[in-house]
Symmetry: C3
Subunit: 665 residues, 3 copies
């Protein structure tokens, strides 16, 4: 458990660097990310390379014992480079070229731009691959930020036709897979196929899904190009990319396969304010701490993308600048977020940024230091965390590196699948339904029950889990089908599971398609509802309301919940359960508690705003609520904080030795 | 009264066709529409024509006694054809070409595309014009769907300049008619005139109106081209097109003049959810049955466009896929909608579609069969309707063809004029006011009074009506003026009537322009209100509120309703009445009841959700409400259903012989 | 105090002109504005000039003693001219050319178009510069209307690069000023710089601000070109332009420097309905009179732009056509608005328009006459005002020209700065915060206290004011800094004051930057809030809530208001005060009352909807409220109206001689 910070030496006179490095040390920072927006400083003109500043900066940081995560600068190619390769610019869905003047001004499919990236990354990796300060490389920055995955230009069209040709071999195979006969959309050759934008009405959903997959694969290839160079020149260093919150436009699991660690950029207040997933009362209640499950959800998701390894590359340290409104965090919130990350397996939490820049687009984005180089509020919260890590280290009799390696996985798995997300969002059938939101609300309910959850890909091993939830796994591959058959724990599949083939068609035997052997039922009709209509549900497992999505199902399985017409809503027996509707949050929680009980997983109903997470033998308690609450886990002793936890408060407990097997699993 | 279905044999292996035909027969289906999206199957490459499948399919259908409505495939030209004629693509208001990938990818003004249509329709009509299965042809499909009437490309500009030149002769005449002196918009030649999009602020409303008229005329010409070929090769068959709900972008009366029957595509739930005409509480109350007047309004409107002949080409049979939310219909709703159509004069009701396709854009759109070929809920409702038609046939001592010809017109006429609609929507003056919505609410009020209404064009004969309502007839042609003078019944003209000349100018004598001899009054000023301000109205005819539109009128006519300042709101005497404001629904109903009384038309206040419609000596009672209601017309005996009608229920009554003259008119 | 009207002789047969002139005289009109949209009548073809109609019209008007304000016709270049210079068209932010068909179809930066303007204005000025009827020239019409200040075409790019080159000299200076190192946005030459639209995410705010400044300067240059010609050929005539309401896209103070008088176009109902500044309950309450401070705010603002001289060029006389809803004014409202204008220093109020045109875009826009040439309601209100001017003239023993020159400035100044407006709107940080709205609400509060306010530029002299408010003066120039130090009155600076350098950077010493010597405090952090979160505020000066913007401040200054955490919200002592948050309207009013008290300015809490304004020794009382109210200033005698003032009522009082020094200042 270590602290880091994002640093832009090119923004400041080099006379400041030593002072900055000393100050970082004083705060307790050990990692520094640099370089990812510095291309115009490195190469102000084509081929005119300036490394002297970076040489010097790395030496200063190294001299102060700081470990460097060095970013490749490919998220911000300079103007001269763009002018030489105008076709590298992306094109938006309306057909407009997206120009220079901010950042991420390229399309992933541009081979010309990939060559330039190959060039600059190679030179950089040759130069610094063995530098003693460099312990890690970050590829590019926030792939997809500002809606940059889908691009609709000539370059993208060429890449798409090639991708389709590779996938289908013959255009007749494509016509059949897409069902192009439907509206005389049959193609005679791959060269007839267009991008799915600016059509008269929606393009074929199979067409749209393949385009999304193709664009996602361009990201994978773009990243892999850098990875291969870095592996060659800087073997042994951790390769990482920094993902974003609530972002699903490319397959993070695939990108993650080529890297060593997953990291993400954590902005709890910005996302609370910005995202439509949150209800207005949530936006009001959690204004200054963020939603209680925002950080946790993404920590668990990206730990899965990182094959178990997680960093926080950018941690919000104060008000940001990019949300519709940008309030200040509550006192203690930065500490709260930092510990929440550690509790979910983060090895390192890096604050963004060291010092607030007085210029440019993010001049209203806080840092650990203010523009006048004085400490902002968050600096002292970082100091406190650094001290508390030492307290925990002492109490656990582990050094910080050992703390970093504490196990963090849970016994419950939630399957999150990017391909399913795209599939269901392409045709949501009810605007009130969205894949990501539904997954998030299931996660929230499980976390309110005190469960520690792993969020896994559809390719992940299922062996270690007692309870497995497939929120809406649209397509069930035969590999997944086999693993589900072999799975020994409790399984819950949610609405829309198995409702699509790999080609975006309805399975011949209707949903749940291949899962109907495991779950003997048939989805006969779908009732896709507006927000205002929430039919009543009741049965052996409780009562409440369904919403958004409502399947009419025929089955012989025992019914645990039914709608008012007696239609099965939640059904199953023994180990396999199916839920045909989205449920209100309370009934969802009740139902998940029953399943956890079947899985012999202890649960408890936490007070409003309280969350608990275990990592190894450490129990973390967090208060996101508006009131102070006294909360004490059984069989544990206090290491950090108090039993009474104020708003934004944290308490850290150590399990008593003889209790370690009995508490909560 | 017969049933039909829309069928896509090209989507299924031909081995299924016999089974499908047999199944249709079992359900009681007699008509089958096919072909309208099949161009790429007919002609997969330029000039390479494949008729064998269609030959065989027609033979199968014919062998099973099914009558075929054959669609020309011009709504979905294949990709190779589009690539040969790129200028055939439409251009949206923002100047973007609307590409291939869905359907309706052409602009009506493209002469190149018209030639291709001429070619394919000619070959098809030559081949099948005399086929014994073919009883009817449908031209294209849903003209205008996906906002395809107005197009802003080079082709359209050329057509517009030609159209203007034909209309005005000299550009000076155009300058005068449009009032181009207003902002120095005078043109020196027709070639200077541009399309009215992408102007700095709104273009001249006369310019916009003429462009809408021109685009509408392109549709008429496009349709006429196909009609002429079909008349030549397939004389005696009914020519038909399928119109859409709440769609006013071309003049359906003009298109209808060239056809034999009008048909439309009836989706009560999709439109309820989608349209802003409906208030939120209506969307909630009628979620699963549709608004009580949605079907009826369009049946009466399109029967008028069809010169008295009406078919339903596509009847919603379950959830659809294209509305923001897509709930399942109530049990019985499909039967309800079918009978509602018959009660308004439909000869035939055809369900869309036979079998839900597992692929393509509409894969979530229900059919009579599910994707797995099992019957969906609606199939049995169709069976029930087929049986009930036989019951009615027996009770009336008429065969089904005689039932088809039962008279369906009413004694009340509502004038609906596409040109008026365009005129008033171009400058609504209050966003709360829309022509279509106002017409619909008048219709609703009349229907709640149990009146049977004809919706007529401004060219229709008025002789047969006791009561005539002009909701907002913007321009009064001299022909209409003459017919109104000759009209002997009760006349109500609504706000904005006579407020524009044919050139979109204010009449010299102000509104109601030429009608001021019939209605001696002058509209001195207009008060165009936001939704929140609804001034009080009262007078001899009741009290309530006006809304949206409020004219200040000087007149000597007796005032039946006034506003709080004593301004006349509803005025008139003897046979001629004028309403200067939109009224709240209750006061509107009261006022129309008074007028019906003057016209000696019996009315009654129906319970919430109950509707009644007569056709010949048959009385149909429908329940769209949420509660069961007992309802019994006087002097009639029950033929189908019960006196107590549940939600989505239907009861059919036969007038007793001696009552036939006395009931309800 | 005189009346005028806007007249379009080219719309009517010249046979009407004499009758119109006579009718104007009868009403009491003395000024007539003509010509500003008449280019196509003057020059129907290139070089074919038709002056005879204008000669004749000017002679008719002159013969009837009417004074003419002659408009240059450059807001509506004819089609033939646009076709010769297609590059003169503007380009919108989405990159689409904004075509011919309405008005204002040019970009200010087009040198080709400026040449055409030079030509036509020169010919016109030569011809009419010495005409006895012509007393004034209006340049163009409503600069910026329909969002025409910012344009994104090639022409604009060329102008921008030149402007930047002039400003910065070297591109390195620009890189430094903009902080382009931030995201590798450094440029190698001015020719690399693009316009700040269609970037992937927001462009650098310094880039955006300079583009806004450049576009504003194009307007200044465009106007100056005409001014120079008019000064040459028509010396001694008043040069004027007509500005608009709530429009801030160019620097009106700069344009105003080159003119003699400022005028603006006053549409109280259209703006109430259209603008998001107004809350829904305000839109409802003031539906027919407009918001009580709408006219006043702009009168005071534009009087400042006019160096003390103000005309109303277009006064709403009835319903307009361009707002979402267009209600009729209350009886008396036109008179109310006219007198409100006079009370704030207007010399002349001109109604728009003489006669409602029956054609073109504005055919639903009322005039003094209806389309049928009968008087509309407003005509008699104009007659009444003309009579009341005479009553006032008699009572004051001054002729109308003397009334015109009555002093109108107040003792309170509100600084309104276009550059600050742009700066803060480019990065509002909270969507709930907008510079213009905040200025308006401060103005409203001061006016509810009965204060007479001057709205001044940041370059204006401060000497004459007892109280000066800087609502949010983003950048403090050294000149302003010096004048503030020299200022002897009470100063209040609001949130965001001094928060930016001239280059849009955060000052090295943080906000309030250079003002920290005058106001010893530091803004340490900003809490930018959503609408729903309004923290409590209390202290010696009252209690209430803050909203939208909330600064965390360190200071030794006495705190007059604090937030719940004890943070200073309003602070200061003696003469200098700082407010770190936006306050709710009541607390804002209370606080301003305290400051006025310190400035020894008498205030009173006016009843809802009542407003008072003094000009010289005349006291004007207005009632915008929904109820009649009795209101009587002390020490004054009634000249016009009654003590009891109905809705839309006006009372005019004359100060008693011995009271003139004592009342209200
Ligand atoms: Zn290149
Ligand atoms: Zn061609
Ligand atoms: Zn030119």
């Amino acid at each position: 458990m270590k602290l880091g910070v994002c640093y832009y030496p090119e923004h400041w006179p080099k006379q400041r660097w030593v002072e900055d490095a000393q100050h970082m040390q004083r705060i307790g920072i050990e990692y520094v990310r640099i370089g990812e927006f510095s291309w115009s400083t490195i190469e102000p003109k084509s081929g005119e390379l300036h490394w002297e500043w970076l040489d010097e900066c790395l030496d200063v940081l190294h001299a102060h014992g700081l470990k460097v995560i060095l970013g490749t600068p490919t998220a911000t190619p300079p103007k001269w480079l763009v002018d030489r390769h105008p076709s590298m610019l992306a094109t938006d869905e309306q057909g407009r070229v997206r120009g220079f003047g901010s950042r991420r001004h390229y399309t992933f499919s541009s081979l010309e731009y990939r060559e330039e990236c190959h060039r600059i990354v190679t030179i950089m990796a040759e130069r610094y691959g063995q530098h003693p300060a460099v312990v890690s490389w970050q590829t590019d920055n926030e792939y997809g930020c500002h809606d940059t995955i889908l691009s609709y230009g000539e370059t993208d069209l060429t890449a798409f036709r090639l991708w389709l040709s590779d996938k289908y071999g013959t255009v007749d195979a494509l016509n059949k897979a897409w069902g192009n006969v439907f509206w005389s959309m049959d193609y005679r050759s791959f060269d007839e196929i267009e991008l799915p934008n600016l059509t008269v009405t929606e393009a074929n959903p199979s067409h749209r899904l393949d385009f999304q997959r193709c664009c996602s694969d361009q990201v994978v290839a773009f990243n892999k190009l850098q990875v291969d160079i870095l592996r060659q020149y800087s073997a042994g260093r951790d390769l990482v990319h920094n993902y974003m919150g609530f972002f699903t436009a490319f397959d993070h699991h695939k990108v993650g396969q080529d890297l060593d660690v997953a990291s993400w950029d954590t902005y709890p207040l910005g996302f609370l304010d910005q995202e439509s997933i949150y209800r207005n009362e949530e936006k009001q209640t959690y204004l200054r701490v963020g939603h209680p499950d925002f950080g946790a959800f993404h920590h668990d998701l990206y730990r899965g993308c990182g094959k178990g390894r997680l960093w926080i590359m950018e941690q919000q340290p104060g008000p940001v600048n990019w949300a519709p409104h940008n309030p200040t965090p509550a006192d203690g919130a930065v500490r709260l977020w930092t510990w929440e990350a550690f509790s979910h397996g983060a090895e390192m939490v890096s604050y963004f940024r060291w010092r607030q820049a007085p210029f440019g687009q993010e001049q209203m984005h806080a840092g650990l230091l203010r523009p006048d180089a004085k400490e902002a509020e968050a600096a002292q919260e970082a100091v406190q965390v650094a001290k508390e890590i030492n307290m925990l280290s002492a109490a656990m009799e582990m050094d910080k590196d050992e703390l970093m390696s504490l196990p963090s996985s849970g016994k419950v798995a939630l399957m999150f699948d990017y391909d399913a997300c795209w599939s269901l969002d392409i045709q949501p059938q009810s605007r009130a339904y969205r894949y990501l939101f539904w997954c998030y609300r299931i996660y929230e309910a499980m976390r309110e029950l005190g469960l520690s959850v792993d969020i896994i890909s559809s390719h992940a091993s299922l062996d270690m889990y007692e309870l497995l939830v497939l929120p809406a796994q649209a397509h069930i591959s035969s590999d997944l089908e086999n693993r589900l058959h072999a799975y020994k724990g409790i399984l819950l599949a949610g609405p829309r599971t198995g409702s699509k083939t790999d080609s975006y068609q309805i399975p011949e035997n209707l949903a749940p398609g291949p899962l109907s052997t495991l779950l003997p039922l048939k989805v006969e009709r779908v009732d896709a509802l507006p927000e205002h209509t929430q039919p009543a549900v009741s049965g052996r497992w409780g009562k409440g309301n369904l919403k958004h999505w409502h399947e009419q199902i025929s089955t012989e399985l025992p019914c645990l919940l039914k709608d008012d017409s007696g239609n099965p809503v939640l059904m199953g027996s023994e180990r396999h359960f199916y839920l045909g509707s989205c449920l209100d949050n309370d009934l969802l929680k009740t139902s998940l508690a029953k399943l956890a009980e079947k899985a012999e997983l202890p649960t408890y109903y936490l007070p409003d705003g309280i969350r608990v997470r275990e990592r190894g033998d450490v129990i973390f308690v967090f208060n996101y609520g508006v009131r102070s609450i006294s909360f004490e886990p059984e069989g544990a002793e206090l290491v950090v904080g108090n039993k009474n936890i104020t708003t934004a408060g944290v308490a850290i407990w150590k399990k008593l030795k003889d209790q370690r097997k009995h508490i909560k699993k």
